[in-house]
Amino acid sequence: MSHFLIILLCLLGPGSAPRPTFQEHINALRERFDVVFVYDADLDPGEEVLPGELKSDSLEGCLDELLSNADIAYMVRGRTVVLFRFYKRDTLHLYHSAIRPAMIRAERVFRDTPGAVPIEPMPQMPQLLGESDPLKLALLSPGIVPAAEGSASIIVRGGEPDGNLILLDGVPFYNSSHLMGYLSVFDDDAISKIRLYKGHFPTRYEGRASSVIDAEGRDGADDRLRGSIGVGILTDKLLLEGPVGKNTTFLISGRFFGLGILKSVFKVFEKYGDYTFYDVYGRVTHTFSERDRLRFTVFRGNDHMRDTLVSGQWGTTLASAAWNHRFSSSTEATTTLSYQHYCSSDDNFSSSIQDWRAAFDASSHMENSHTLRWGGGYSYRYLTPTTTITSHHPVHDFSAYGEDEWRKGCWTAVAGIHINLYAVPGNAYFTAQPRLFLQYAPDRWRLFGSAGRMVQPIHALTSSQTVTLPSDLLVCVSGNVRPMTSDQISFGAEYNGWATVTAEAWVKRMEGVLEYKDDRLGHVVSGYWQNNVVSGEGRAAGLEIAVSKQPWFQLSYTLSKSMRRFDQIDGGAWFPSSNEHRHSIVTTMKQDITKHFEIRELWIWISGGYITVPERYSFVMTPSGQFKQRPVYEGRNNYQLPASHRLDISASVHFNGKHSQHRLTAGVYNVYAANNPTFATLWYKQNPNPSAPDLLSVAVISVFRVLPSLSYSVRF
């Protein structure tokens, strides 16, 4: 790999690209970081003071480079960048006091869809084994906790791990994880933006109960062939992008676990097991005219594991085509066709889902401050969960939605409804999902509230709460299993001063929550999964507080409670969800040591989740008529694990070659070696009574302690 890297760098050689103009720089930044620029038309510093290329990975870094020799200052507010000329430092102070409140209002005009929390890919952030994963950055937002230590699977506002609608270029993923859930399929080099929705959900989204994570791939560069190479402990990455002809661009990226350092471990212990995974993402965009644009997306990812416990594989194949047509300057529509095949299997079980989808989304900005969004779609899914017997579940999903967004002065209101018809053999379920969002934003304050319903027809029946396994079954509504619904009300306030302070409270009620009758065992009990699940209800509530001074500092705290109840479990009593984490605190800090050297810290404290522990021992007869002593469990989730906390630190150096940008990131995960429970397990301590069995105990295994990492990437 390293030889290949050196050869490729040599091939890059000296180039002869012309120096970009100020407008070209602005256009490039707008595309790259998905931001809106606000500045006077005559604001041009002149080419002589502009750099040739912007080499930083961050928006602020690029702006610093761009404007370092110009009399122009900038201010970043959310996704809006305001540029203004200044001549003396004193005028900047005046600007802050007089103009800034107006800018904050301007920002809200340009602000993204109400309810969206933008997640910006940040390769500089300290992450497990140095593997940059944009999905894990969702944890920086309050109300979100990982499903397990180090996991990319998240739990949003007391929901379930399968309750997150994860979209790539508008197509939902059924399993977005690699490496048993410790890494997501998203390569941040290929992703332009990710938006997270956890309170108010735009009406066009449906299909999951807890959250929406909408990832949009990046168009390929339209000026010349570009690329990047990344080498890390876990994976090696390659990305190539560029123009094909005048109006077509392409981007292809791939990640491979098989060349990296960790792969050597599996080779050393080959007789105990092996693991490989890869993913490839490709995107071709063709612009017919200013009005028409066509985009093709393909994705293929696969994991294959073999060890002493289980062998199996899972993977996703996805292809989509989206045609965007602009009818006028205010009206546009996108038509999307997609196909996806997800399958997983191990020695005993398999799960497969094929999804054909056609969708139409339109939006129209009216002159009277209204924005109308409407659309619909049809999806045909064919699920084949297999235990001892394969069952077949065709699902026809018809949907339509309409939404009106109205902005007037300080007020923003969004109201809409999404209706679905799920047709399955023997039954049909009609659902209506109303959504409402209201915001009042005078000057520095913003008060907002939302209410809405989400419906979830797909469930992942998992055999382990900690990791993703090939034995997890994807199931859907059927003749006797209804869709799950989640009703949420939230309200909050935000203050934009020296820092941004946000507080939000929410309450949620869930119906149709699925659970195995016999806990995690149900998937082996019968050939028909419907016979082994029970449907119940859930309720959750929480308070989220966040203080941020972007990009330097962020602190968030969440207080939440999540309960479940099933008529056939524990006599119908309420019990805590295994995903409940009562308190969570997340802080991040960034320090620029020099222009090319920065340090980031991340500290997390999360209350422990709940597990079921036994009450006593009993003799149990085996099928052959012998007896063994086994623990007896009473009650569900009757023990709370200890809290987990850790500090992660990373240092990043970025420097520029003649036609390349280099980044070297070193990090340490869990610096002070906290014993966080990665796995909880039963253990046996010696019994003082020598003739009696050992005493049963719960023990935790802390896998991720003081894990250093090193990664290197080069862009050209």
Binding site: L521, F619, F627, V632, F679, T681
Partner: protein
Amino acid sequence: MLRSYHIALLFILAAVSCRPLETVWTFPASDDREISIQGYLHGRDSIHSVWCSYAKADGAVEAADLDVAVYVNGKLVDQPTSTPSDYPYLHPAEYTFKAFFSPGDRIKIKAGDACAAISVPEPPDTLYTTMNVSKGLDGVSRVKFESKIQGNGYYRIDLMATVRGFNADGHLVSVSQVTGPSQLFSLDNETTVQSIMVPLSGLKLAQSVKNTAYLECTAIFRISAMNRELFTLFNTWAEDSTEDIFSRFADPVHFPNNVQGGIGLVDVTSEVERSFTIHANIK
């Protein structure tokens, strides 16, 4: 060289990062105890046993001092007793009784304050059962049973066979007992008929005996109907890996319970059997 570096680095990573088990909770010592009743009753038998013990925090112990009563359709049929053993932590106390069961009978077993009540399930309808002999790529004969079964419940198939090998003169040269793998399956209102294939393993050994010209295989094909709890228990044992060191990462399994006022599982099965004899030339 590169690989050595990788291995060394990872060894260091593993050594400093992974921490052995840390106990965070131990079951508190307590004198509380709960009566446990265990028993698999077979509808075809007339002598049955149930086993009783006390489930405790520091380990289960036999319960030989209980008043046990057996009722069939509300009528008391027996009051068995048991004698204490020298190893109370190794085995529960056995209570043996005599009773005859028919499908639909209600059986109630009381042991102290604990009680288990079960119904004798209906045996399955076997629409047909066939036995086929085929030769594999390795030249070894294979026997497979196929049965089409109709019902609505939980079932297990057991296959037991006696294989006799004969030489060309018709003299017996070998006798072996072979079995097929037990198979568990369920039928419900949506799928009431199921075809089950059961391969008979162990024939290769019988065919490897010198001078064997043909085999005579006498097989008993047994289908047992059971209640959901026993079906779950059998599956639970398949999933149980408590004694496997690698199972520490697995979520705990829960054994089913159908004893009121105590714990444990008592169930009764109804069986149907089909026997076959087949001759297979192996030359």
